[in-house]
């Protein structure tokens, strides 16, 4: 019951994010320009070409800087765990890769910036990692392929003074097994 509630909350958050709020809270730095353009231009077919290219060319799509699959970080607003619309292509690409490679596994590591309480941030990092996992589930990645963990604020930069710095720590990282 709790689970389905959460799932629908995450879905609702998605829909909300997709409809309007993508631009509003533009983070100062977290995503490099290249990833953004890659995300917007090749999101639709990025995953399938990625899956194919692994066999034919021998270039690991997960490491190919020109492939969206090399982008691994999803950034969040302060005290929020909604996956924003601008990260949907990235999340979808990884979900499709997992679907195409049933033996592949990922760990999604949730993080928070250094402000506020360590315990609350641990819980928030967990929600962020779970939000990314649910988003991947929707696209077809299986539960058994995805583990979630939270580091809370323990990996955060301690010397931040502004949101340009803090925003980089509010993220979930996708790490493939064996990396």
């Amino acid at each position: 019951m709790n689970k389905s509630l959460l799932a629908s909350a995450v879905l609702a958050a998605f829909l909300a994010a997709c409809s309007s709020t993508a631009v509003k809270d533009k983070p100062a730095a977290p995503v490099e320009d290249s990833s953004k353009s890659a995300a917007t231009s090749s999101a639709a077919d990025g995953a399938s070409t990625a899956a194919a290219s692994q066999d034919s060319v021998g270039v690991n799509p997960l490491k190919d800087p020109n492939n969206i699959l090399s982008k691994r970080s999803i950034y969040f607003d302060f005290d929020k765990d909604e996956v924003k619309a601008e990260y949907r292509p990235l999340v979808d690409a990884h979900a499709k890769y997992l679907q195409a490679n049933p033996n592949a596994k990922v760990m999604i590591q949730g993080n928070a910036d250094s402000r506020g309480s360590r315990e609350y941030n641990l819980a928030l990092g967990q929600r962020r990692s779970v939000a990314v996992k649910k988003a991947m589930n929707v696209v077809g990645a299986q539960d058994k392929q995805i583990e979630t963990v939270s580091y809370g604020e323990e990996k955060a930069t301690q010397t931040c003074k502004d949101d340009g710095c803090w925003s980089k720590d509010r993220r979930a990282d996708i790490v493939y097994e064996g990396e």
């Binding site: 709790n2 005290d79 309480s117 315990e119 609350y120 967990q126 779970v130 301690q158």
Partner: protein
């Protein structure tokens, strides 16, 4: 508000830690501010056997304690003609001449079997009478602890409140890339490493008898709760369930702990017996529920939840049930800790300036912000409820600070090497 630096002290490592890597932790305590009315007290250096000359004189330790409380002004005694150690040697006129209201004298004498007799008297200079007189027969290693107990007695006699000088604090010290859970005297002396790890340690919680700590360690690459005896050093896993295991808080009777698990994907509060049996979920929400804190009578639990949007503090029966919201000012209030009398709640409150320590009167709902720094965390009450110990950040480095519940007395405890965080004020030293 920041007054002149009145007191500064370097601390020596007296104990060799069993983990020698982490032994070099030295806390420095500064007083930044004090009460409006301070009691002027003179403390004559205690007569001491030559064998103890290398240790701090009892009078030095007592004076530092009283000064640090912000409620006393410790007067210079050098240059005063008489330096009494016994009652018959006291010339009150010498002490009224330097405006002392109270005078402490005493002596340390060797006893057979590596023991000491420590005697002290507290005298009222104006009325010229004795307020306290006591003798301690102690092991010679206990001189410093005895000095803290004497400071507690003087503090209680002159202020009417229990002292907290003979207590201990715990905190996490990050030094050279390692995290050490440490326990030290309330003045920062005798830091001892309980456990150290290259992965983070957070959320230490004292058992009510002060003999054990529960804490969260990431040493297995995910948060797991351990309980460790301070006497034997023996440690056991309290909770290692699927997902995160965190935020341990002992029940006042020491039989149970409230903990937080993400067993069901979302952080929720559970109660578990101190031996790791009898796990029971007590909070049920679709949001984050974390940072449980028992009321002193054990009947209820304060906790942080974002069930209403942003994080706020709620209270529910310890067995679970309907939660009542406690904080209403601002959009981010976390880390509740309740005073020993159950009347005040301290927590971290985000306002326009940043994250600061607030105290709320639970009867009236009135909130006062106590700290002036902007990245403050982890407040906990001293055992007498008068001071709040918390973590702050200076130049990107963690340090500890304490503030009186009325906001007037402020202390800063900085480590000269490490990055100190996650403090919790514990209990009296036996």
């Amino acid at each position: 508000m920041i007054k002149t630096l009145m007191f500064k002290r370097l601390i020596f490592v007296l104990f060799l830690s069993f983990l020698p890597l982490m032994a070099k932790a030295e806390l420095t305590v500064e007083i930044v501010g004090g009460a409006a009315q301070q009691i002027p007290i003179a403390i004559v250096p205690f007569s001491t056997p030559p064998a103890l000359a290398s240790q701090d004189n009892v009078a030095t330790v007592v004076g530092a304690d009283l000064q640090r409380s912000g409620l006393f002004r410790v007067l210079e005694t050098r240059g005063v003609a008489s330096q009494p150690h016994a009652l018959a040697e006291v010339k009150y006129a010498d002490w009224s001449a330097i405006q002392a209201q109270a005078l402490t004298i005493g002596s340390v004498e060797p006893l057979p079997g590596n023991r000491l007799k420590v005697s002290f008297r507290l005298l009222d200079v104006l009325k010229q009478n004795q307020l306290l007189a006591m003798e301690f027969n102690i092991a010679s290693s206990q001189q410093r602890t005895t000095a803290h107990k004497i400071a507690d007695l003087i503090y209680e006699k002159l202020t009417g409140e229990k002292g907290v000088f003979a207590t201990r604090i715990t905190y996490v010290n990050k030094l050279n890339g390692r995290y050490a859970l440490q326990v030290a005297d309330a003045d920062g002396f005798n830091p001892q490493t309980v456990v150290s790890s290259k992965e983070p340690i957070i959320s230490p919680s004292w058992s009510p008898d002060g003999s054990k700590l529960a804490y969260v360690s990431f040493e297995k690459k995910k948060p797991i709760i351990f309980v460790q005896s301070l006497l034997s050093g023996q440690r056991t896993v309290l909770a290692n369930f699927k997902g995160n295991n965190s935020a341990p808080a002992w029940s006042p009777d020491g039989t149970k702990l409230a903990i937080v698990l993400t067993y069901s994907a979302n952080s929720q509060i559970y109660v578990i017996n101190a031996d790791g049996t009898g796990l029971q979920q007590v909070s049920f929400s679709s949001g984050i529920d974390t940072e449980p804190e028992w009321t002193p009578d054990g009947s209820a639990i304060y906790f942080t939840s974002n069930r209403g949007g942003g994080p706020q503090i709620y209270r529910m029966p310890a067995t679970g049930g309907e939660a009542k919201r406690i904080t209403f000012e601002g959009s981010y209030n976390v880390s509740p800790h309740v005073s020993p009398d159950g009347k005040l709640l301290t927590y971290v409150k985000q306002d326009a300036k940043g994250f600061r320590i607030a105290v709320q009167d639970l009867a009236t709902g009135q909130v006062q912000t106590l700290s002036e720094t902007t990245q403050d965390e982890s407040p906990s009450f001293a055992p007498n409820g008068r001071m709040i110990l918390y973590a702050t950040s200076i130049g990107g480095k963690g340090s500890l600070a304490a503030v009186s519940v009325d906001g007037r007395v402020k202390q800063r405890l900085t480590d000269n090497g490490g990055d100190v965080r996650e403090p919790s004020w514990g209990f009296a030293i036996n």
